[in-house]
């Protein structure tokens, strides 16, 4: 009959006194550490700083942030200053205007030739070029290039760097004000997503079995409801505004993070080192957060960084289907969807927000690569 281990049996009882230290007093032959030990984050920091691309990306983001914070305050105009005498102006920038770009001109097509003399419509000197004389249904028509600032009667020396919108609001200010709002929405929603996702995913992945089964079914149920249904309900209960949008971005998006964390746990929880730690009596919470979770820090950071422009993106989709942020507030999404409607008439209104969102995306992308490499030494040099 086989014997089973039981600490109660006398033959397995070991008294502490029967152990003795081997090397308590002896010399250690190894070399002593010369440097101070470097912590995990400091180590990551060092590696991060070594990557030029990441630094550039970081600086890029800081610049956008600085613009977002300070540009609106430093401008002549407020984001909501309206003037119906200057609607839809094209961009005009000092210096550049002399080179024929961003000089505040625009082509107006299908003009009646006989109306060109009318100075109440085309103030003196506003018409720069007339082409395409033609007769359409017996009417003489042409296309003209006008100095749109003069045409609209805006005084000389006024410059709108990105032009103005349908209410004559300065798009430069609205752009940066919008970037501020969008980034705020993105940061808050991503932080919430990541926190919920980590906790939820860790628990499901670590405990597995029934817990996992139930928790994952819950995510499936939450995930089943289409964004549009969820958004409509939120708007009904909370009204439009930042809160609704953030809630919409959080309520389903954490599921992805949770799934990712969970699969990471499945990958690592069977590893030898986890087994070893558990054998040594490490508690569940410590196992989860100290031993397994740090493996996921790379993917989490990458994901979070990509999620930031992603959130801006979703926000712009919501704006496109008409569930955006409360007017007259601006956001990148609002500008993009507004710009898309007038893309053929005023391409500048979609071009600048598209450039800014692309720059942000590039920067966050590069930053996330840098951070991942920094946090995950196995990827170094990759």
């Amino acid at each position: 009959m086989a014997k089973f281990y039981s600490s109660d049996l006398p033959e397995y009882q070991v008294e502490p006194e029967s152990f003795e230290f081997v090397q308590m007093e002896g010399e250690i032959a190894d070399e002593k550490f010369q440097d101070k030990p470097i912590g995990f984050f400091k180590d990551a920091m060092l590696r991060f700083c070594r990557s030029k691309v990441s630094i550039i990306a970081f600086i890029g983001i800081v610049i956008v942030l600085l613009f977002a914070v300070f540009a609106p305050a430093l401008s002549r105009w407020d984001y909501n200053d309206q003037d119906l005498n200057r609607i839809n102006l094209p961009p005009k920038v000092p210096v550049l205007e002399n080179y024929g770009i961003l000089d505040g001109t625009r082509w107006l097509t299908n003009r009646r030739v006989d109306s060109l003399e009318d100075t109440s419509r085309y103030p003196e000197g506003s018409i720069l070029k007339v082409i395409n004389h033609r007769t359409v249904q017996g009417v003489e028509m042409c296309d003209i290039k006008v100095d749109y600032y003069k045409y609209s009667g805006v005084e000389d020396g006024t410059y709108f760097w990105m032009g103005t919108d349908y209410l004559g609001r300065d798009l430069w200010v609205r752009m940066w004000r919008g970037a501020r709002v969008s980034l705020l929405i993105a940061f808050i929603s991503v932080i919430c997503n990541v926190c919920i996702g980590i906790v939820y995913g860790s628990i499901a992945g670590y405990y597995g079995g029934k817990v996992d089964m139930i928790m994952m079914r819950i995510t499936e149920i939450i995930g089943a409801f289409p964004e549009i249904v969820v958004v409509t309900l939120f708007i009904l209960f909370f009204g439009t505004g930042i809160l609704s949008i953030i809630l919409c971005l959080v309520v389903q998006n954490w599921i992805g993070t949770a799934r990712m964390i969970r699969s990471q746990f499945y990958r690592y929880k069977g590893s030898e080192y986890v087994l070893a730690a558990r054998t040594l009596g490490v508690r569940d919470m410590a196992l989860i957060f100290r031993h397994i979770l740090p493996n996921s820090i790379g993917p989490i950071i990458t994901r979070a960084m990509i999620a930031i422009p992603g959130a801006i993106f979703t926000e712009s989709f919501l704006a496109y289907i008409g569930l955006g942020i409360r007017a007259p507030e601006s956001s990148i999404g609002v500008l993009l969807s507004q710009g898309q409607k007038v893309m053929q008439q005023y391409p500048n209104q979609v071009f600048f927000p598209a450039v800014v969102i692309s720059l942000l995306m590039i920067a966050f992308n590069m930053l996330s690569n840098g951070l991942r490499d920094a946090f995950d030494p196995t990827q170094r040099g990759a």
Binding site: M213, R217, E220, A224, F225, V229, S337, S358, Q379, A382
Partner: protein
Amino acid sequence: MAKYTIQRILAMLLTMFIILTVGFMVIRLMPGGIFDDAVDMTHEQRAALEAKYNLDKPIIVQYGLFLKGLILEGDWGTSLKMNINVPVWDIIKTKIPVTLYINFFSLLISLPLGIGLGIVAAIRKNSITDYLISFLVVIFISVPSFIFATLLQYFVAFKGGLFPIIFDATSTGWARFHGLALPIIALSLGPIARVTRYLRAELAETINSDFMLLAKTKGLTERQATLNHGIRNSLLPLMNIIVPMFTSIMGGSLVIETIFSIPGMGGIMVKSVNAPDYTVTLAVLIFYSLVSLITVLIVDLSYGIVDPRVRMGGKK
């Protein structure tokens, strides 16, 4: 494994039922009565109509009636607003083919292209090629598809005259493909970018691993090592994003289908919510949920098959 699979399938059915129940309640919570905005009618007329569709009864009774119809006759109800009196599945049925068509071709383009670009970018890491690819990837990901679709339509179709501006539903064969080429391209940009980025990251990780070092040590060139050993290891995790891409095949794209006038699934959800058309919303919801649940199931089960080290459902 078999036991786990059965467990999962049972759980899936239960989940479906909960989604159905919650969905029914939630959709009824949505604002707007069906006949609010419809036509000019008297109070009595509206009341009679609501009585006809049982909308005047308590929601639990409505749910009971709905379940009864569903279980006894497989009846999902008829549309009340979008295609009046047409059974909801008939509506969905007519819209799926064209959506499948464009999404299938978009996958057909985006997968090889994305994988190819991803491999090139990973092998030529930190070269001009890599930067160029990464740049395009970022542009495709960061600029919303409605901007690309509008640009393509304006420059390629309208100014360039190379493609029809909108889809002609009567066309067949090559003309059909020609007419759908722009939406297919517009739809592909996003997936290409996603596959490229994912594969580049995965491959970059694999290239650094020990077995690749071994492969190189034994005399394989960088290229041989990558193509023979690296890619095989990186394609497996790619399943993580490819399978969900198949799910979206059914979804269609509201924006692109609207811009190119394609009568597909895109936006059927948005439209039915806005109509509002309860029965259609619910049926579409169930349809999508089913597709996505099956996808999740396949992904989860395949984890274990693809990588035997992972034991799904195992306890701690």
